[in-house]
């Protein structure tokens, strides 16, 4: 067939382009604009070059927040991915249990972030919260407002509660696509439960797992609302992750220049990490 070249078709993309421009590109450019200038209000700007970037990259505060954030993402991935796979493996494959489980699994995903935060903020309170009060009644010294470790545990458990379902649903979708013949063949080949997981289920889940890891990494690395509602970044700075720090700097202190520089660095880190994850996880496909 003869290919026809008709550049007018590009006009059809224009509406989307405009939308994306207004919602993403233009705000991003404003941030770039702020990051290389200094302002004292009155819409007066002074050229600052790369000063803000240097300042951010030399500030202990930024590195501390980055470390906390990396640790947080690492723990989240280490907990949610195996737990999600485990739950997905044990979910029923047919019958009435399937819709029941799927609905139960979807519930946490349907709750808005700030509501999740509020739920756990109340849940964990020692005076009126079910969790906090019970733990205290059991004689455990739990207080997420005072103790940094308790605050971390609370924030992590909350995130696991909120987002493991996403991993479960993705893995489950991968699992149900495996034809029965594979399991039957494995039985005939005398494969152990572990071998079935390792050579049948895991390879079939690989693609969805890649998506799960990427999504959970990006989301946990950008987490803001839930810890902000529960701990407000405290006690001290113990749960101040990058985004919380960024908001403090930009909106709290009104240091627009450094904040803009920081958001660009932040953005590049996420981009870089996602790219690394993607490359590492897809590279085994290219082995052949």
């Amino acid at each position: 067939m003869e290919k026809t070249w008709n550049n007018k078709a590009w006009f059809l993309v224009l509406p989307v382009l405009l939308l994306v421009a207004f919602s993403a590109v233009i705000p991003l450019m404003t941030v770039v604009n702020y990051s290389v200038q200094d302002t004292f209000g009155n819409n007066e700007f002074f050229w600052a070059g790369t000063d803000w970037f240097t300042e951010i990259l030399h500030s202990d505060r930024f590195w501390a927040a980055l470390q906390r954030n990396l640790l947080f993402s690492f723990i989240i991935l280490a907990l949610e991915i195996p737990l999600g796979i485990f739950i997905a493996l044990n979910m029923p494959k047919k019958g009435l249990g399937v819709p029941v489980c799927l609905v139960l699994m979807s519930l946490p995903l349907l709750i808005p972030w700030n509501v999740v935060g509020t739920i756990w903020q109340v849940f964990g309170r020692v005076d009126i919260g079910l969790l906090g009060h019970t733990l205290e009644a059991l004689g455990l010294d739990y207080n997420y407002v005072r103790d940094p470790l308790d605050a971390w545990i609370t924030v992590i458990v909350m995130d696991v509660w909120h987002w493991t379902s996403l991993v479960v649903l993705l893995c489950y979708a991968g699992l149900v696509s495996i034809p029965d013949a594979y399991y039957q063949a494995a039985k005939i080949d005398g494969a152990s439960r572990w071998a079935v997981f390792r050579y049948i289920q895991l390879p079939k889940m690989k693609r969805v797992l890649l998506i799960a890891v990427l999504l959970r990494f990006m989301d946990s690395f950008m987490i803001y609302t839930e810890p902000f509602v529960v701990t407000g970044g405290g006690p001290g700075n113990s749960t101040t992750f990058l985004s919380i720090d960024l908001v403090k700097m930009a909106v709290g202190q009104f240091d627009l220049g450094p904040a803009a520089a920081m958001s660009i660095i932040y953005f590049l880190i996420i981009l870089l990490m996602s790219w690394i994850f993607y490359t590492v996880m897809t590279s085994s496909d290219a082995d052949n």
Binding site: A181, Q184, I188
Partner: protein
């Protein structure tokens, strides 16, 4: 390798089966010889895969027992039965190499690595994939993958039987032929008991020593291809096997004569039947001669299929197919005659004089 005894096997998928129709498999009672090649032939939903899965242990029969060499294996798991099965869709372990795929069933059984290596290399030779041993199984073609599935079954030299569940369905036609003859050669060479499920009569007839024809959850006939052709025990066998299938027409009996419409046909002997039985006459198109003598027919059309032609005609108000060789001329007022050797009378769909269940293997 083993002799397989199916002792009054019945299976229903639903709970509390009452009527015959609740059973996916109605009463199967047979013994299959050690080293035999059996083909289970029948239309979709006739219970052939159910029977196969019962033999392999993937399904537990609702009633009855299965014996391998006289030993009851009904309650044994698939692994313990030591069975190999090849499925309709090739099952390969994508992330493993071809070599590891073949080694998998051996390693799972704790075979020493030196033995594994020797047997896998042998098997690679047999299935003709030696040059791809180190490749990942993922990128192979469907027929290569199916060969691996087959190899995984054959690599264990102690299997009791190898079961095939329509293994050539997804293979290209020209490769089908190659694989089929390879499989036949392997069977001769290794002598395993083989059960082969298919709905393709050519595949079953070229492949098996004994063809087991199934229909509505029961075995209607077990026989060699020639027996199925010459003496179908059930009208279903008559029209399922053969192309075109057997002509079946309602008749009434008058002693040793069968009456079809206004014609009567002499029979070799008078079949036994009681009043109220449904009587049918079956004759294969190959046993009808067309010429100037006999009973009048009206020709509808003639299909030329090379060395033979198929005449579609109207006989006493019923369609009838006749096979004639290509040099036979069809006269202006055609008449047909039935070869007495090919005429069978069916009582309630079963061949007159045979019990209403298929006989021994």
């Amino acid at each position: 390798m083993a002799r397989i005894t199916l002792d009054h096997i019945r299976h229903a998928y639903g709970p509390n089966p009452q009527a015959d129709t609740d059973y996916a498999l109605r009463e199967v009672h047979h013994e299959w010889k050690d080293g035999g090649a059996y083909a289970l032939l029948g239309p979709s939903g006739c219970g052939k895969t159910t029977l196969l899965n019962i033999i392999s242990g993937l399904l537990q029969p609702s009633h009855g027992r299965i014996l391998f060499d006289g030993k009851d294996v009904t309650d044994l798991s698939t692994q313990a039965r030591n069975i190999a099965q090849v499925f309709q869709f090739p099952v390969v372990y994508d992330t493993m190499s071809v070599y590891d795929n073949l080694a998998f069933p051996l390693r799972n059984r704790g075979v020493a690595e030196a033995d594994v290596d020797r047997r896998v290399k042998e098997m690679l030779e047999i299935i003709d994939l030696s040059d791809r041993a180190k490749r990942k199984a993922q990128g192979l073609t469907a027929d290569q993958k199916q060969k691996i599935s087959l190899g995984r079954g054959l690599v264990r030299n102690d299997v009791n039987a190898i079961l095939f569940d329509e293994p050539l369905t997804v293979i290209d036609p020209h490769m089908k032929w190659v694989l089929r003859s390879q499989l036949k050669r392997l069977h001769k060479q290794l002598g395993f008991t083989m059960v082969y499920v298919t709905h393709d009569q050519t595949e079953a007839l070229t492949f098996a020593d004994k063809v087991v024809v199934m229909y509505e959850g029961q075995i209607v006939q077990i026989g060699t291809p020639a027996e199925l052709f010459e003496k179908p025990r059930h009208t279903f066998v008559g029209y399922f096997i053969g192309s075109p299938g057997m002509n079946v027409m309602p008749v009434s009996l008058d002693g040793a004569r069968a009456v079809v419409g206004s014609q009567d046909i002499a029979l070799a002997e008078a079949p036994k039947s009681v009043a109220g039985d449904r009587l049918q006459l079956g004759i294969r198109p190959e046993f009808i001669r067309i010429g100037r003598e006999g009973m009048p027919v009206r020709i509808d059309r003639v299909e030329d299929i090379g060395r033979r032609k198929i005449v579609r005609a109207d006989f006493e108000g019923r369609p009838i197919a006749i096979v004639a060789s290509e040099d036979v001329e069809i006269p202006a007022e055609p008449k047909i005659a039935f070869d007495p050797a090919g005429v069978h009378i069916y009582v309630n769909s079963w061949l007159a004089g045979s019990p209403a269940t298929a006989g021994e293997a």
